[in-house]
């Protein structure tokens, strides 16, 4: 067991996937000699050769569209979109083909491909480098959307994604890339589609994923000073959502706050809050609250601290849940 970063865990997952299955191939812009702009593919081209890990022309639709053809021929492509907002040129391929080919061919052709996308803000990136685009992917039937919040999950969920018979959009929270964790690899933290309780509590449930999990846990610690004992759920997979884990928790606590840095209007929290309301209405002591980014384009880096939901905003939302009504 040693201290490793999420970036290293992802790199190890890719290395192990390349080693274990000759059908696994990696490609994208700058992932070869450079090892990716975040070094997630560091050393893989050297170790496995440039037919297993290779640079493509700078063309995101081509990266994803050719991955479709490669998967049709039996490979298991793992492609990198360099930054969240760089993935948009590939959107037609994603929506019209990646998400639908199994359905269009009535099961004859499934696409076991993984699309890695570093996403989210908090690293001082200039515009087009900090988007949280997950709702577009969540809103597309046929896709699986995964986002880890720990190094262990980064390794395990990426291995599970590459092994999946269906296309996975694997969102890497870039501000967590360099966080260290005591971890022995390999590790298996469970199947796709399963949320996990990161902190047990009784007064309210914070529901978060990816970069917001750390903030939610910090808020839960701060809330303890107010005498509020908060449960924190890390969704890990956004599509399909683990309603069972979320609803079991909310039925116990009676209160829920969804936390994410993507915008709020028609954002992921809207879907989650609606599902909680539909399923847990008679257990709720207060409306489901959302703490999200503002409904604005992601701001310039000097302003992002004002945009990103922090501990205080979460605590304000928690405070609004009429705490005095809670039985002891």
């Amino acid at each position: 067991m040693s201290e490793i970063t999420m970036a290293k865990a992802l790199n190890t997952a890719l290395r192990d996937a390349l080693r274990d299955d000759p059908r696994t191939i990696l490609f994208g812009e700058d992932i070869g000699a450079l090892g990716g702009v975040f070094r997630i593919t560091d050393g893989l081209a050297a170790e496995f050769g440039d037919e297993r890990c290779f640079d493509t022309p700078l063309a995101e639709s081509a990266i994803l569209g050719t991955a479709v053809g490669m998967a049709m021929y039996g490979y298991r492509p793992v492609v990198e979109m360099q930054f969240d907002a760089f993935a948009y040129p590939a959107f037609e391929q994603l929506v019209s083909h990646v998400a639908k080919l199994r359905n269009r061919t009535r099961g004859a052709i499934g696409l076991p491909l993984t699309i890695r996308i570093p996403y989210g803000g908090g690293i001082g990136g200039v515009e087009h480098h900090s988007d949280s685009s997950e709702i577009y992917y969540m809103a597309t039937p046929g896709l699986t959307v995964v986002t880890p919040a720990t190094a262990a999950d980064a390794y395990s969920l990426l291995r599970r994604s590459i092994a999946s018979p269906d296309p996975v959009v694997f969102l890497e929270p870039k501000r967590l890339y360099w966080r260290k964790e005591a971890l022995g690899l390999p590790v298996d933290t469970g199947p796709l589609g399963s949320a996990v309780i990161r902190r047990h509590g009784t007064h309210a449930t914070l529901i978060a994923y990816g970069p917001a999990v750390t903030t939610a846990l910090e808020a839960a610690e701060a809330a303890a000073e107010h005498g509020w004992d908060l449960e924190v759920i890390d969704l890990r997979t956004l599509m399909p959502l683990d309603d069972a884990t979320v609803c079991a928790s909310v039925r116990r606590t009676g209160r829920a706050v969804v936390v994410h840095e993507a915008h709020g209007f028609a954002g992921p929290g809207a879907e989650i809050a609606a599902r909680i309301t539909e399923r847990c209405f008679y257990h709720l002591e207060a409306p489901v609250r959302r703490v999200t980014g503002f409904d604005v384009p992601y701001p310039p880096p000097l302003l992002e601290r004002h945009y990103l939901p922090g501990v205080d905003r979460i605590l304000d939302a928690v405070a609004s849940l009429e705490w005095e009504a809670v039985p002891a």
Partner: protein
């Protein structure tokens, strides 16, 4: 279906590998027959006559309301038959919605070819066993699938070529450019066949591109561009065959522009009198690919009138059989909506499928 089964069973002849230059205009048609045996020319003729009958019958279906829509390829039979016969059955086709005749020529059941347009299934045939991707509706997107599959075959060391079909309008799409660039850089064994039928729905070629020819575009990607007479099946056959063998030999992709004309409207929903000058179709009618091959084969003695009449009768019988099979209503299973979205049915889809099953049971349509 015997005509088409025979067509697809014939082996592709060996031919010289040539990297064709960009030509300013379609090459002269006269020597096109060279290198293609008479029985194979006859096969092409049969397939084109059947294809013409298929276009006629499918258009009739659309007028009868038995198809939601039909994009006819009448006038483009030489492009579709010549290209489909020029590659091996193990090579992959990446067709658009207008490639019905190419699919027929490949040997795919005509009812399965039409399921997309009938509206009961997105893709009626099995793409894996037919080595044919689903007919693609978004423009040029399948060029990238072709490039990826071809590149995968190259990496695997398999002698497989991908043949990507597009129209002239699709050459303006980003995916067309990304696919050509990718395929050229990776030396992927792909043949990009543009059927320049002069219109993208209503927009004429002059408003589509400022390039001298569509074949000229190949130069920008570092691959050969070949411009051929798309109404001459033998030119199409030879150009696609040569490009495919060139690709198979490791020399990378080729862009072929086949100059042709779409006789019918874009689909039955289109009014082509709004955008086509009067008399234009008459000029092209003189170049009709089916009539032209028939004249050439009659002149060469490969075909006689009695044989031609026999083929015409067989094509009519083929259309009649298709019509009879089509009179049976499609048997769409509503539950299939959920069956192939994911490999494993996720919980929310299980809930929704149970709800639909209950609705169907209440309506007396359940099991």
């Amino acid at each position: 279906m015997t005509v088409l089964e025979a067509a697809t069973a014939a082996p592709a002849p060996a031919g010289p590998v040539t990297a064709g230059p960009v030509t300013a205009a379609p090459a002269a048609a006269a020597p096109a027959a060279a290198g293609v045996p008479p029985d194979r020319q006859l096969l092409m003729y049969r397939a084109m006559v059947v294809g013409r009958a298929f276009n006629r019958q499918a258009t009739a279906f659309s007028r009868q309301g038995r198809l939601a829509v039909y994009p006819s390829s009448r006038g483009q039979e030489a492009c579709q038959v010549g290209s489909a016969l020029a590659v091996r059955p193990t090579d992959w086709l990446f067709p658009t919605y207008r490639e019905s005749v190419a699919l027929l020529t490949r040997g795919i059941d005509p009812v399965q070819v039409l399921t997309l347009f009938r509206g009961d299934q997105h893709c009626g045939y099995d793409p894996v066993t037919e080595h044919t991707a689903p007919q693609c509706t978004p423009l040029a997107t399948q060029c990238l699938h072709a490039a990826g599959l071809a590149d995968a075959a190259r990496m695997a060391g398999d002698p497989i070529v991908a043949l990507a079909y597009i129209g002239d309008g699709a050459t303006s799409e980003g995916d067309f450019h990304e696919a050509l660039n990718y395929a050229a850089v990776r030396r992927a064994p792909v043949v990009f066949l543009v059927q320049n039928n002069q219109y993208a729905i209503s927009v004429p070629l002059a408003k589509q591109t400022a390039a001298r020819t569509l074949a000229d575009k190949a130069a920008g990607y570092g691959m050969p561009g070949v411009r051929i007479d798309g109404n001459d099946v033998l030119q199409v056959y030879r150009a696609v065959h040569d490009a495919a063998e060139r690709a198979r030999a490791g020399h990378g992709p080729t862009l072929i522009e086949a100059v042709t004309y779409r006789i019918d409207a874009h689909t039955n929903a289109d009014d082509d009198t709004r955008y086509r000058p009067a008399g234009e179709a008459d000029v092209w009618a003189a170049q009709d690919p089916v009539d032209r091959l028939e004249r050439d084969l009659l002149a060469a003695g490969v075909l006689d009138r009695a044989a031609a009449d026999g083929i015409a009768a067989a094509a009519d019988a083929f259309a009649g059989e298709l019509s009879a099979r089509f009179s049976a209503p499609p048997t769409g299973d509503p539950m299939q909506m959920f069956r192939h979205v994911y490999h494993h049915l996720p919980p929310h889809l299980r809930e929704q499928s149970e709800r639909l099953a209950a609705e169907l049971a209440a309506d007396g349509q359940g099991d």
